[in-house]
């Protein structure tokens, strides 16, 4: 039954009143009581003065909500909500997944006010460059204000995904206490909590299915460590489907872990930390042959075992295994144990395993179905050639450096890149660290792998030109944006002039994320990008000579972006002030290390916000007004 609300005058008033006016209909918040058959009685004193029958409105509302339930894509939902007020309301009622791309772009209250039926929340905090220690330790992204609002608004919340947020043990305790039906916790690159928080989750979330800690910093003072694995219920079966704690530095109680795995028949994904030895891994695998994703822990032996168990059969028994990771302290002699599962693998993460080319080859030659491969550059160009020869279905490749220092030469180079481009034609995503590169190799990749969506090349030597021609790397990256028509994410490096950015601005029409370091000559470089890339959402720049003129050339676009990061560039406070004045919906955070340089900006972190500047900024952050 519709409530009797006074009409609100809006721009919709101009609409012709002979058709049922959806815009004027006030949909009651508690529409669970609404008659879902679509029939309802005429409401006395109803808003509809011109068209007396509420019946078509009610039907349309119900139809609308039922239809909108099927919309899952965030983009589609956002578009639907802009159609008119009643679509806005219907969409708000039917949205179950809340995605907050920047925790400071909107206040928790605003979000919970708009959406009343949320079951799953994702919140992202710090910008990516915070991962590389470029931001003060206490910058922010505190989950506390969010957890209290969410606890109040969504007691039925099932899933929480947090990325780069500061989460405390107390926050985790609140989660454990507030959501009776809580099922899934995913913490990626978070910090601020330790084993006490994990213990609270383990103990109280009886319906927990997923607990995944990914590259989060979980370090506790030795005297504060808690045996969290023992806190899971000791009796009865659990609902656990995924347990990932490979980033937890402290050792776990193995007995408790083994008992837990034995009591978790639904467990499909298990990612162990480095404290779990090969022998212990073996025991766990025997308990859980149904695993599909396995993080192997240390993959080495702690002490000498008299009779080594048959590791290969344990692996062979896991017939559903498709994803392997871990290998944190790998003892290469144990590698043959995984041969039996290689043919089924779609994902292999060796990025913590210091294996050489021969060792990689022995494994890779079996991996015909591999789609995702993460390795260290210890495998050398030789290893990459082996990958190219076998992994015809490869979609994603990441090559990390063992040694992160600048050297004249490295173990992987343009040779490896070209080989991959020739062998893995379906490649969609690549992250490649190397010491040197050539334009020819990058151009080759642009032509051989037209499906590339993500191209991130990190030439560790800053300002390194083409190793053969000594030219800037402009042409290589130019070819990438020209030929890879689906490209949405790009990271550039090496010696680059404004020309590279001209290419990006001209051809990179789908680019959403761009990372720039030690590149460009003048403001023109940044201008090309800001004026040419309409889909740009995230722009992170460091140590590049872009200044005020360039910053001001993006005013037309900043409201469409999630954030802009510029550190160690040529910006001044005046320019930031100007932007802040011109675009009041932006928050400009200026972070300076050097108190002497009053005018020069060290770090500018700029983002749109519906609720103005935050109130939890630390001392070294100034917010431009």
């Amino acid at each position: 039954m519709r409530e009797n609300h006074p009409q609100k005058t809006t721009e919709d008033d101009n609409r012709s009143s002979s058709i049922p006016d959806l815009a004027r209909a006030e949909i009651a918040e508690s529409s669970t009581s609404k008659n879902r058959t679509g029939l309802s009685e005429p409401v006395p004193g109803s808003n509809q003065t011109e068209n007396p029958s509420p019946f078509p409105d009610q039907v349309l509302e119900n139809v609308l909500e039922n239809v909108l339930h099927f919309l899952s894509s965030r983009k589609d939902r956002n578009a639907a909500s802009l159609v008119c007020r009643s679509w806005y309301r219907a969409e708000a009622l039917t949205r179950s997944d809340l995605f907050i791309g920047n925790c400071y772009a909107v206040s928790p209250r605003r979000a919970t006010n708009r959406f009343s039926r949320i079951k799953s929340v994702t919140v992202k905090g710090k910008p990516r460059f915070a991962d590389f220690d470029l931001m003060p330790v206490d910058w922010g992204a505190h989950f506390t204000p969010w957890v209290s609002s969410l606890a109040q608004a969504y007691p039925w919340l099932e899933k929480l995904h947090l990325k780069r947020m500061t989460v405390t043990d107390d926050n985790l305790a609140v989660i454990a206490d507030s959501f009776a039906g809580f099922r899934e916790l995913l913490l990626v690159c978070c910090e601020g909590f330790g084993t006490p928080g994990l213990a609270a989750i383990a103990a109280k979330c009886r319906l927990l299915r997923v607990l995944e800690l990914v590259e989060s910093v979980i370090e506790v003072e030795d005297d504060e460590e808690v045996d969290w694995v023992s806190c899971f219920p000791n009796e009865g079966q659990t609902h656990l489907e995924s347990l990932a704690f490979d980033c937890v530095e402290c050792p776990v109680n193995f007995e408790a872990l083994e008992g837990l795995v034995a009591r978790s028949p639904c467990l499909k994904k298990l990612r162990l930390n480095r404290s779990v030895s090969m022998a212990q891994l073996h025991r766990l695998m025997l308990r859980a042959p149904q695993l599909t994703h396995l993080g192997t822990g240390s993959f080495s032996a702690n002490e000498n075992v008299d009779q080594e168990p048959d590791y290969a059969s344990a692996f062979a028994a896991c017939r559903s295994l498709v994803c392997l990771s871990g290998f944190r302290e790998i003892w290469p002699d144990y590698l043959p144990a995984i041969y039996p599962v290689c043919a089924n693998l779609t994902s292999l993460n060796f990025s913590y395993a210091d294996v050489n080319a021969e060792q990689l080859k022995s494994v890779i030659c079996h991996c015909h179905n591999l789609q995702i491969l993460w390795v260290l550059d210890s495998v050398c160009d030789d290893g990459l050639q082996a990958v190219a020869a076998t992994c015809k279905d490869l979609r994603e490749l990441r090559v990390f450096p063992v040694d992160a220092r600048e050297e004249t030469e490295g173990p992987v180079s343009e040779v490896g890149l070209v080989a991959i481009s020739q062998g893995c034609r379906k490649l969609e995503s690549i992250l490649f660290f190397c010491q040197t590169m050539t334009n020819a190799a990058v151009i080759a990749m642009s032509k051989n792998c037209p499906d590339l969506v993500v191209f991130r090349l990190c030439i560790i030597g800053v300002y390194r030109p083409d190793a053969v021609t000594q030219e800037p790397m402009d042409e290589g990256f130019g070819a990438i944006v020209m030929n890879c028509k689906k490209l949405t994410r790009l990271a550039v490096s090496g010696l680059l002039t404004d020309r590279a950015f001209e290419y990006i601005g001209r051809y990179g029409k789908l680019i959403r994320t761009l990372s720039v370091a030690f590149a460009g000559d003048t403001d023109l470089g940044l201008k090309y990008v800001l004026e040419g890339c309409p889909n740009l959402k995230k722009l992170e720049i460091r140590d590049s000579p872009f200044g005020d003129g360039a910053l001001l050339s993006g005013l037309h676009h900043y409201y469409n972006m999630r954030f802009l990061w510029m550190s160690s560039c040529k910006l001044t406070r005046q320019a930031c002030q100007e932007v802040a004045r011109a675009l009041p919906g932006l928050v400009l955070e200026v972070i300076n290390n050097n108190e002497d340089a009053v005018n020069d900006i060290e770090i500018l972190y700029m983002y749109r916000s519906l609720d103005g500047p935050r109130d939890d900024a630390p001392e070294n952050v100034t917010i431009m007004q």
């Binding site: 590389f132 003060p136 980033c247 260290l376 300002y463 000594q470 370091a517 140590d543 290390n593």
Partner: protein, 199 residues
Amino acid sequence: MENSMGRHETEMNFKATELRLGLPGVDEMEKVPSNYSVLRSNKRSSPETSEVESINKTNLNTSNTICHDQDNAPPSKAQVVGWPPIRSYRKNSLQQKKGEEVGMYVKVSMAGAPYLRKIDLKVYKSYSELLKALENMFKCTFGEYSEREGYNGSEFAPTYEDKDGDWMLVGDVPWEMFMSSCKRLRVMKGSEAKGLGCF
């Protein structure tokens, strides 16, 4: 390592242990930017490649001399902050695995911050390097060190717990002694650190 130890002892000169932020051998206190990003000042206007390469190398060498005058060890490259872009979690994990070069990881905490960091002491060759890194990590400044007054006047002071469980001011003992006795580090408020020091 032995060379430097010998040098310290034979010099019997407090200047050798005096903590300064300037280039060793220079008398005035030069203010050195706390940000390691030495290449920041290299804002080029034209891409003369050969010029750039040599400027690049010069800058790196300049910063090396700040750190290595006292030791005769070959200069290692100055680390640009946050470059290459690899998460410290991954860097630390890999460092710890290296058999030959076992890192010396100590926890670093800061008064008021609810979490810890870990750093590898072996990466640093002197107090000035270490302090610069800490200053940058926690975005604070320690000011000038003097034996009598410690880090008097600055808001924060770096301290460490040694093998005996005593809390000392970073800089009180010769570098090598510090390296072998430091168990963990803590950035304390200046007022907290007043009582420390071995003199």
